[in-house]
């Protein structure tokens, strides 16, 4: 095995059972493991609802640490659609040229910086910086705000010793409160002001709803983007031939990006609560119990993907669900994909090869499954072209 590999821990359970139960704070979860089943359940929001007690569809459950409903994440149709109609245009802004240009300036400067150094720890010295700066573009706030986001560290919600730390989440809520106050006093063109001015179904948003939306852009887009970027760097360091190929064949870059996102699946799974007794591949799901849609397992489904455990850079048909499927598909996907496009372009232009110096893997534990989602530490050395 190579140090940048991400093995698939779900294979046997996926093939033999298709569904696997894990415990989580005495509120067990049936993980759905096959691609077709994951898609079907994601599509069937009437039976598998996202609108449960706030925090319950997240695994590990956050029921005990927050009351704010996240929007649109914890809302079912038809209300969900009204929120998406408001939010979708804002989150498609990464397709605009000036957004892309600003992102290119940020990422180009960052690569230029790390090339000068002998070696870097990539998470704190690259991915966290990239993600935080790019987030200021998505929120349309001054780039200097990135310093605040960076100061929070990689995990906005958790401290070193406590995976569910309510105190740590409070600093984010306080920050958001303060920003909403500022936007009320001095409206600007940022996301806070835009949401304050917006209406959904003829009604102004409440402060609680605005908080629910903003918190999600921090929560959903932090670990996921950091892992996507870090894992990409690790892969390219470990596979210099791939960096060379991407440089020589720019036409495969779009496919390569989808393939890397499939392979890494930065979000392992997300839960739903059953509204009635149901069945997933002959496995009984009781009303009011939880299932999870395991994107990471679905993306290695051997009945759909040839050589599922290999990165096939120019994979042509790639029906992955790394950004979810159907109703709740990822609102930040355009931003994430644009980051990847600019990152790959700039690496091809500026970097000849990357040395993989050393790494400390981040392994998630889900019941009996151990899944590598990224790294706690990754030391790399960049070499200019």
């Amino acid at each position: 095995m190579k140090p940048s590999d991400h093995p698939d821990p779900f294979k046997q359970a996926r093939i033999e059972q298709g569904v696997s139960e894990i415990d989580d704070q005495n509120d067990p979860v049936n993980m759905v493991l096959r691609l077709k089943d994951v898609r079907k359940c994601a599509h069937n929001w009437k039976t598998y609802s996202s609108e449960a007690t706030p925090g319950r569809i997240v695994v590990p459950s956050e029921v005990n640490i927050r009351d704010t409903r996240q929007i649109p994440f914890e809302v079912d149709p038809p209300k969900h659609g009204a929120f998406r109609q408001l939010l979708d245009p804002w989150f498609k802004r990464p397709l605009q040229d000036d957004y892309r240009d600003k992102l290119r300036t940020q990422i180009s400067a960052l690569i230029h910086e790390v090339i000068q150094q002998q070696s870097i720890e990539a998470i704190h010295g690259f991915s966290l910086l990239l993600q935080s700066r790019a987030l200021t573009l998505l929120m349309n706030t001054p780039e200097s705000e990135a310093d605040t986001f960076i100061s929070w560290g990689t995990h906005v919600f958790r401290s070193e010793d406590d995976p569910l730390d309510a105190g740590k989440a409070q600093q984010l809520y306080d920050y958001i409160d303060q920003k909403i106050d500022e936007a009320e006093a001095n409206p600007s063109e940022d996301l806070f002001s835009t949401l304050l001015a917006a209406e959904v179904e003829g009604q102004k948003l409440t402060r609680e709803q605005i908080k629910g939306i903003i918190i999600l852009t921090f929560a959903g887009g932090r670990d996921t983007v950091i892992n996507m970027v870090t894992n990409t760097l690790a892969y390219l360091a470990d596979h210099p031939e791939s960096l060379k190929r991407l440089r020589e064949e720019p036409e495969i870059r779009t496919r390569a990006i989808e393939e890397l996102i499939r392979y890494f699946s930065p979000l392992t799974h997300m839960g739903r609560v059953a509204t009635e007794d149901a069945q997933v591949c002959e496995h009984a799901i009781k009303a009011n119990s939880r299932i999870s849609l395991c994107w990471a397992s679905a993306n290695r489904d051997e009945t759909v993907f040839e050589n599922p455990n290999e990165v096939v850079l120019d994979r042509k048909i790639n029906p992955h669900v790394a950004f979810g499927f159907a109703t709740h598909n990822c609102l930040g996907a355009t931003h994430a994909r644009t980051i990847m496009q600019v990152l790959i372009d700039e690496l091809c232009q500026q970097v000849d090869h990357i040395d993989f110096v050393s790494a400390d893997e981040n392994i998630e534990q889900w019941g009996k499954f151990e899944r590598k989602v990224g790294y706690h530490k990754l030391n790399l050395a960049f070499h200019p072209v």
Binding site: K316, I317, P319
Partner: protein
């Protein structure tokens, strides 16, 4: 050179011409409303869904198995549905008419 006609949900008709690339790319380049092509054409996002006009169906052909599985869960799907990122522009497609599904 193939001439391809898109008819959007709000009844705009857009006629495009190309000799290579995918039909999705052609639609995106021409700003056809309702065709986003989010995944770049790898059959993962279903934001390129069209209904093929009845008299174009024969030339366009049937969806592959993976594409069919994607379409199965699309509320707008019918027996003439295709994901147009899976259609390569060629002379074969000259003159076809596609109704955008969303």
């Amino acid at each position: 050179m193939a001439k391809i006609t898109f008819i959007t949900k709000d009844d705009n008709t857009i006629v495009c011409e190309a000799d290579s690339g995918s039909v999705m790319e052609l639609a995106v380049q021409n700003g056809v409303k309702g065709i986003d092509g989010d995944c770049g054409g790898v059959c993962s996002c279903a934001t390129c869904h069209v209904h093929v006009a009845p008299d174009s169906v024969e030339r366009v052909g049937e969806a592959g198995e993976i594409e069919k599985d994607m379409l199965e869960l699309d509320d707008e799907a019918n027996e003439r549905s295709r994901l147009c990122c899976q259609l390569e522009v060629s002379d074969e497609l000259d003159g076809i008419v596609l109704h955008v599904a969303h």
